[in-house]
Every structure is written in structure tokens, then in C-alpha cells.
Amino acid sequence: MAPTVDLEARFLDYVAAENKVEPKDWMPDAYRKTLVRQISQHAHSEIVGMLPEANWITRAPSLRAKLILLAKVQDEGGHGLYLYSAAETLGTSRDQMVDDLLTGKAKYSSIFNYPTLTWADMGAVGWLVDGAAIQNQVMLCRTSYGPYSRAMVRICKEESFHQRQGYEIMMHLARGTQEQKAMAQDALNRWWWPSLMMFGPSDDKSPNSAQSMAWRIKRKSNDDLRQEFIDKTVPQAEFIGLTIPDPDLKWNEERGHYDFGAIDWTEFFAVVAGNGPCNTERLEARRKAHADGAWVREAATAYAAKHSARRAAPSPAASKAHAA
């Protein structure tokens, strides 16, 4: 087994020297598996993440807001496409990945298992959920796998735009009528803690973190990313006069960071296990779209097959059909 050890050691040196791994390069099986799991989870999160926002497209309160929201959800579909393509370079097909999502084998970000109840949630999701996602994604622009890193560069540009749009909605509501301000505060109250949970459990409870760091897939710890997000977001909330729902939140001069209250990880693990408020609805919506669309996909495949066959060797029957 000596040569394998050699290859793995060389691989570690290669990524440690900040080189990018490309699809045809040799890579450890576990590296490949980890990436497929992570990139496909990320793609699924984009696709499932379309649902809570699509919930408000038909009720957007102005034509401008409707266009912005629709364009945003459309972008997320596009991100899903880039990411499925990046994962396919590792040898797993999109059909297989979608199948894993629909059978519950693959996960997606738990944040999308919370309901979007008011228009302010379109602000909070953009500001906090996209904000937390960006924190992670900016780091992933420097991830060791080339196709993933390049997809992330494109995605980050659009996501930061989404985050500003979300913040703009919150700002507008926070400066609006009493009812609008209450709506904004309520949305912040509901989305704050789940957003902090998006970074995952503390590093000592996150078994894959150390290996991912050694492979340079991951560049920062969950706790560090979470802290960066909090430090960045608290002043934004203060600026628009909203209160972060954490009585223990206070600036720590010595650390140069905000201290914050304990996260309720029992809630996180309950949602991951499938018992969040909307897990069933989200997966059902994806299954229904996939099942209802099966005949459309089959028709497109059948049509393409017929026509490539006709082009290759026009049969008398086909020519007749064309003439008809």
C-alpha cells in the first residue's frame, strides 16, 4: 500500500501549497466523496431554497418588488445548475443527485424548513440567510477543488446583491408604519437563531471539519464564520433600529468581538432529523414537481431521440411525417 500513502501525502502537499485540484487529477476517494456530498447538498439547498421565497412572488406588494424577488429566485435556480454541473465533474450524475434529494438520502440546508409568514420574511431571508450563506461562500471561493471554487466566485457576486436587496426591504419596513416595523422585528426574531445555526455545530462537535480543513475544502471553522457573521450583522440591525433577540449579546472589548447567548442545538438537530416546521412540505413540493414533470422530460428525450435518428438516416416514415 506504500504507493497510495505516497499519493495521498503528495495530494496533501499539493493542496497545502494552494494548488487547485481539477476533475482529471488524481484525488483520494474520500476527498471526492466529501465534495460530492457537500456540493450536491449545496445545490439542493439552492433548489429547495427557491420554495420559501417563491411563496411570496404572487403576493409581492409592488411591481418593482415582484420583479426583484422573481429575479432572485430565478438566480437561485441558476446557482443550482452551476453547482450540479460542478458536482457532475466528480462523476455523479444530476439525476442521481436529484434522486438522493427526493428519497431523503441527501440533505439540504435546514434553514429552508422554516416557513415564510410575512413579507418581512423576504427581507430577513435575504439579509440574514443569504448573509450567512455568503460568509461561507466567500471562504469557498478559495476551496481546493477548481470547478467548485469557480462556481462559488460567480455565485458570490449574485448573492451579495441578494443580501443588499433583503436588507433594503428590512430598512424600508423598519422606517415604515408601526405595523411594518413590527413585521420587520418579528421576522428578525424568528430568523436570527436559525441563521446562526446555518454555520453548523461548534467545531469540537463537527466530525468532518478537521479533514476538510486539511484538504483545503474548508478554510475557516464553523465558529469563526459564525462570529464574523454576528460581528458584521449586529451594527446593521442597530442602524435600522431593530433589536437582535439575544439578551446576552454584548461587545467584548478584549476579544474584539460580540459575545452572544447559547444556541439551542436541540432545535437544530430536530430540524436536521426532519422535524422542522416545513420539512415535509418542502420535500413534498420537490417530489410533486419532479413527478408531475416526468412526462415532460420523457417527451423531450423521446423527441430528441427521434430527431437525431431522423437526421442520421431519414426513414420513409419520418419523411412522410415531415411532409404531413
Binding site: 403576493r59 406588494p61 429566485v73 441558476g78 413540493a285 414537481a289 427521434k306 411525417a321
Partner: protein, 254 residues
């Protein structure tokens, strides 16, 4: 509504804008639920074009109404009896074949309408039409491609596509039956005689159906008067949903 929208040029702009808004709204209902990811993106794209087009017509209408009227006042504060869209575009999405049949019929009409509106005596309408014609050409290609694929795909897709054509063809007579709003627009040189678009439309649609190896169904026309504000029962629900927030918080701005 509190604004006076009786001016004939405002009525015509509302008619043009309402078709775009209502169909865009229907297409946006597919977002997140399409048969394949690429179609979620394509249908959202068309919806974006249409809602964007509606905004241009409404902004112009609002300017002509004056007194601080906005595009959102026109979209969110009119009742269904004040909407001037064709009954075709407000029909529920149904399955993907239904959506594509509705789209093929409207896109072909919309293309011909915009082509004529490029020469509108209303210079501002002509400018909007010139810009919208490009994107509408793409919409028409998209719906035609799907009707062909579904018609000439599998047995099931063919059956569904044929049923969808049969369901929506009866709504198309309204496109070519001049209502008051069309007659005034034609007399004043703002828009085409819609009856004259019927021949070219038949030609465009028939060409697609032939490629799809489908027959044009023999179905009677429905008597419809959406352009005069008499709609199907589904528009009330669509507007109730669309207009809910501004009406629940009338003092708020968004």
C-alpha cells in the same frame, strides 16, 4: 378606484399592460415547481419580461392619469371589473401542456400586435413595442418549441398537448374580436385592427401545429368580453392574492 382612468389612451395602455401583468403573474406561479430546472428558469425569465413590460405601460398610463397616480395604484387598486386583459391570459396554469398551449396562442398574437404597435401613432407606445418585440420573439420560439416537442414526443405528451389545444383554442376568438378599447385605438391610429391579425395568427399557429404533427381542433368559440371588464371567475382569486398586501396595509408604502 380613486383615480379617473376613463381617458381612452389610458384605457388602451391598461389593456396592453393587463395582458402582460396577468400572464406574467400566472407564469411566475411555476417558479420552483417546473418540470425541469431549466424550465423554472425559462418561465421565470418570460414572466420577468412580461411584468417588466406591464410596468412600462402602467408608468405611461399613470403619467397620463396625473395627480401622483403610480404604476402600483393601477396594478393593486383596480377591481377585476376594471381589468382589461383577454380572458385567455388569466386562465389557471393547468399542466405544462396547458401552459404551453396558452402561451403559444398568446405569444403569436402578442408578436403580431407588437409588430403593428411599432408604427403606433402614439410615439411612446411605439417605443415600448419596438423594445418588447425582441423578447417576444424569444417567447414565441420557446412556446413553439415545446408544443412541437410535446406533440411529437411520447403518446402521453401528445394526448396532453392535443387536450390543451382543445381547451384553450376557444379562448382565442376574443383576441380578434374588437372591443370598445380596440375600436377607439384603431380609429385614433394607436393600434391595429385586431380582426386583421387573425389571418397571420392562423398561419403562425398552423405552422407550429404541423411541425408538432398535431391537428387544429374543431371547437366552437367562447363568447368572452374580458377587454370590457367581464372576466372569468378565476381573475378575482388571482387579484385577491396579488393585491392582498397593499390592501391590508393601505397606509404603508413598500
Amino acid at each position: 378606484m380613486k383615480w379617473d382612468i376613463c381617458d381612452p389612451s389610458v384605457q388602451y395602455l391598461l389593456h396592453l399592460g393587463d395582458d402582460a401583468l396577468i400572464l406574467g403573474h400566472r407564469l411566475s406561479e411555476w417558479c420552483g415547481h417546473g418540470p425541469v430546472l431549466e424550465e423554472d428558469i425559462a418561465l421565470s425569465n418570460i414572466a420577468l419580461d412580461l411584468v417588466g413590460l406591464a410596468r412600462q405601460y402602467y408608468q405611461l398610463a399613470a403619467e397620463r392619469v396625473g395627480g401622483g397616480c403610480t404604476e402600483d395604484d393601477l396594478a393593486y387598486w383596480r377591481s377585476d371589473r376594471e381589468f382589461r386583459n383577454h380572458v385567455l391570459v388569466e386562465q389557471p396554469n393547468g399542466d405544462f401542456a396547458d401552459t404551453m398551449a396558452r402561451q403559444l396562442f398568446f405569444d403569436a398574437f402578442h408578436y403580431l400586435q407588437l409588430e403593428a404597435l411599432q408604427n403606433s401613432g402614439d410615439a411612446q407606445v411605439a417605443a415600448i413595442a419596438r423594445k418588447a418585440l425582441k423578447e417576444t420573439t424569444y417567447h414565441a420560439e420557446h412556446s413553439a418549441d415545446w408544443v412541437v416537442r410535446l406533440g411529437d414526443g411520447t403518446e402521453e405528451s401528445r394526448r396532453r398537448m392535443a387536450a390543451a389545444l382543445e381547451r384553450f383554442l376557444p379562448f382565442t376568438a376574443e383576441l380578434f374580436t374588437p372591443a370598445e378599447v380596440d375600436r377607439v385605438a384603431f380609429e385614433r391610429g394607436w393600434g391595429p385592427d385586431v380582426a386583421s391579425l387573425k389571418g397571420p395568427w392562423d398561419h403562425l399557429v398552423l405552422e407550429v401545429l404541423q411541425k408538432a404533427t398535431l391537428e387544429r381542433p374543431e371547437v366552437p368559440h367562447k363568447l368572452l368580453r374580458g377587454k370590457s371588464g367581464i372576466h372569468s371567475e378565476s381573475l378575482g382569486f388571482l387579484l385577491a392574492e396579488m393585491q392582498s398586501l397593499p390592501r391590508a396595509y393601505p397606509d404603508a408604502t413598500w
